[in-house]
């Protein structure tokens, strides 16, 4: 579903992402882990088509993100690390806006908004301005917005930050359900326990380079993901 091949992104002389290759298959949850500043967010921004890159190719469902950006974006949903959304709108205006852009029919959007907003317990507050929302509520709203067009691929950058325990639990459930229905999920996280329990695949990145990737079993073996991650970090530093 998402294929990244030899992705390289530079900022001047600094190489943020260096020859990164990944393949996220449909029906799989893929964790993307690495220390702060490793290049996770940069790679994710390239994958969703909001940041240009110097080398490599990124395809979504077989379409090139550079050559056919709009077709790619129709298939994906992006949840950034910070829910900076239109504070001048009410939550329902925001969701309607997203649904309009993705051309979700009125009856379908109505059903999905009601279902998701009910699930994340913000339905009663949908008419309120987003400026009155807490960080966690905004994060929930971004998640609901991402689910409206039933994407084939969801790319998330630290999706659990700011969510309360119940919302975290619900999001994990949504991720599993989406995968069961054939979608692919690619997300970055620092919560290694969650990644270990939730994901089928994992990629570890350091200083822009992929240092390990594969199925969860292949990567961690008999150890915990946390131990493997820390050992890899130490090995690289040695």
């Amino acid at each position: 579903m998402l294929k990244i091949e030899h992705l390289t992104k530079k900022f001047g002389d600094f190489t943020a992402v260096d020859d990164l290759s990944l393949d996220v298959e449909a029906g799989k949850i893929y964790a993307f882990i690495g220390h702060n500043g490793a290049g996770k967010t940069t790679a994710i921004k390239c994958a969703v088509g909001i940041s240009d890159f110097d080398n490599g190719t990124i395809t979504i469902d077989g379409k090139d993100i550079k050559k056919d950006a709009l077709a790619c974006k129709r298939e994906l949903a992006y949840i950034p690390d910070n829910p900076n959304i239109y504070e001048f709108m009410t939550a329902i205006q925001y969701l309607n806006f997203i649904a309009d852009i993705f051309e979700v029919p009125a009856d379908v959007r109505s059903e999905r908004i009601n279902k998701c907003a009910e699930m994340f317990e913000i339905r009663e507050k949908l008419a309120q301005p987003i400026s009155s929302y807490s960080h966690g509520m905004k994060q929930k709203l971004v998640i609901i917005g991402a689910l409206l067009h039933n994407p084939k691929l969801i790319i998330m950058d630290e999706p659990f930050v700011g969510l309360d325990p119940k919302a975290t639990f619900l999001l994990k459930g949504v991720m599993k359900e989406m995968c069961e229905n054939g979608a692919a999920i690619f997300f970055s996280t620092h919560v290694l326990d969650v990644a270990e329990k939730l994901c089928d695949m994992v990629a570890i990145i350091k200083q822009g380079k992929l240092i390990k990737c594969g199925t969860m079993e292949e990567v961690k073996g008999d150890e915990s993901l946390e131990q493997v991650f820390l050992e890899l970090e130490d090995d690289q530093n040695a």
Binding site: D52, N84, P129
Partner: protein, 533 residues
């Protein structure tokens, strides 16, 4: 502490003017020089008109009573700077995005207020300079300048900045006070600001009429100033070197400022953090409606505009003036016709000059609605949304332009028609003026988007930064004014070379050329820039 906060303010301003927003590095020398030249041109163009006024008053003042001219220019300077700076003070003091973060730190509110007031003070000085510095220059040219006078006048320039700061801070506080008392803060804020601005404009309108009469009788003007507006009596004398007047005006300004500072700092936390809007609205199912992507983008622009006090007050005023002016002209246009009638007999060229006057008015009014020049920057930190969605960047930019057309071209065209009817301009010229107004608005909106794409600023802490301080906005606003005036001058001098309707037609063709070029640039380069901003 204060030093740190001031450094932060300076860094923000520095980033705005001297940093390349895309690469993060310093702006290239060429771009920086171009920007400085642009600001100098704008300043000179505006200072020229005030210099003319100053020359008139300094010449008309009786010998030994030059203080009257200085007092009158002081009134103009303080009133104009207070008006232009008023909204800034409210937004800068009470609505900055980093207020809550800074208030959570061990910073005394008074220190935070002081650091914000310094920014407002500097902007007030910039506006006051438009009237006061040209007056000093005229005094120098007329041989009325000595070293003592120069020092006194320069000192009074900085002191009147304190008075402007005090007045604008008090205004900002009043707006914030009303905003915290009512549920719908934004509407209350806009209404209070509009009432204030309308009041000031009415005052300024009357002042202009009064000034014309005063220039004929400066002696009487002096008496009025002395009796009714004592501070400016002192300011006039201070500018003429009176030490006692310098001390009195400084003491007066400092006292007003101290009172304003005390009031603002004592109530700052409450005023800047109280939010009452929309806390009890409940969701109803009927609020879910579908529309096309293009309409959704346009609606988004409109929603942003009507929910932003900064945008409404900076770009919505022109719309109000144009709509109100048009209604007035349609209803009471005969008043204008009655006044123009006798002039037509005295000035044979009036018929050719009236369309030019309409062009100047339309350019000035439409240029007030320059929202597109800030529309890309206003996306700020949520630009990722439009970039990650399946929507053509060109469609996003077109929605911005279309909204700009609603604010500029449509009311501008109606105003042009209303003016043409009221002034009795013949049918062919009236139609051409309407076409000109429509094209000017569309071209201005398109050019604004182009300029903002070339000079975006997505890292602001207050919407005031891109809307009021951005170079694209300044260029489009003052550029529109200068264009209007330049066209009028050109039209006047070429009146014997070509008929008026041909001249307007040429203007329309020129505008169309600029519009077509800008549009092509947006399609080929602009959309690509927006995609990865």
């Amino acid at each position: 502490m204060l030093k740190t906060l001031l450094r932060k303010n300076l860094q923000e301003v520095g980033a705005l003017y001297f940093r390349d927003k895309k690469g993060g590095g310093k702006r290239t020398g060429g771009a920086l020089i171009g920007m400085i030249i642009l600001y100098v041109i704008i300043f000179l163009a505006l200072a020229l008109s005030f210099g003319g006024m100053a020359a008139l008053f300094l010449s008309a003042a009786p010998a030994g009573s030059e203080w009257i001219a200085w007092a009158v220019m002081g009134i103009l300077s303080v009133v104009m700077a207070s008006v232009l700076n008023a909204i800034l003070s409210y937004v800068q003091l009470f609505m900055a995005h980093d207020n809550e973060m800074l208030l959570s730190m061990p910073i005394p509110p008074g220190t935070l207020v002081l650091s914000r007031m310094v920014s407002v003070y500097v902007m007030g000085l910039v506006y006051a300079a438009l009237a006061w510095l040209p007056t000093m220059f005229v005094g120098f040219v007329q041989g009325k300048m000595t070293a003592l006078l120069f020092v006194s006048q320069l000192l009074m320039f900085f002191v009147q900045g304190l008075l402007i700061l005090a007045l604008t801070c008090l205004f900002g506080w009043v707006v914030a006070f009303f905003a915290t008392k009512f549920k719908n803060q934004k509407i209350v804020t806009v209404i209070v600001c509009l009432l204030f601005l309308i009041g000031i404009y009415v005052l300024q309108f009357k002042t202009n009429a009064l000034l014309n009469r005063l220039s004929e009788n400066m002696g009487r003007a002096g008496e009025v100033i002395k009796e009714s507006i004592w501070p400016f009596y002192q300011l006039g004398h201070a500018a003429c070197g009176s030490i006692s007047a310098i001390l009195l005006f400084t003491a007066f300004s400092a006292a007003i400022l101290a009172a304003a500072y005390f009031l603002v700092s004592k109530t700052y936390i409450k005023m800047s953090t109280t939010k009452k809007s929309g806390t009890k609205a409940k969701f109803k199912e009927k609020q879910i409606k579908a529309t096309s992507a293009n309409k959704a983008l346009l609606k988004k622009e409109a929603t942003h505009f009507v929910n932003s006090v900064t945008c409404m007050l900076n770009s919505g005023l022109g719309v109000i003036f144009m709509v109100a002016g048009s209604i007035f002209l349609f209803i009471k246009g005969d008043i204008l016709a009655d006044r123009i009638g006798p002039l037509a007999e005295a000035i044979p060229e009036l018929e050719q000059m009236l369309p030019l006057a309409v062009i100047v008015i339309v350019c000035m009014m439409e240029s007030l609605g320059t929202i597109t020049a800030a529309s890309v920057s206003l996306e700020g930190k949520h630009i990722w949304m439009l970039q990650s969605m399946p929507v053509d960047p060109l469609a996003v930019l077109n929605a911005k332009i279309q909204f700009g057309v609603y604010l500029q071209a449509i009311p501008g065209t109606i105003l042009a028609v209303a003016l043409a009817i009221a002034l009795g301009i013949n049918d062919s010229n009236a139609v051409l003026l309407a076409v000109f107004a429509a094209f000017f608005g569309r071209t201005s909106a398109t050019l604004g988007t182009v300029l903002n794409l070339k000079h975006p600023n997505l890292d602001w802490t207050s919407e005031q930064t891109p809307v009021k301080r951005g170079a694209p906005v300044a260029f489009l606003l003052f550029g529109g004014w200068i264009f209007g005036m330049a066209v009028a001058v050109l039209g006047f001098f070429s009146r014997n070379l070509m008929p008026t309707h041909i001249f307007i037609l040429v203007l329309v063709v020129v505008l169309f050329g600029v519009y077509a070029y800008s549009n092509k640039w947006l399609k080929t380069k602009g959309a690509a820039i927006f995609r990865y901003l």
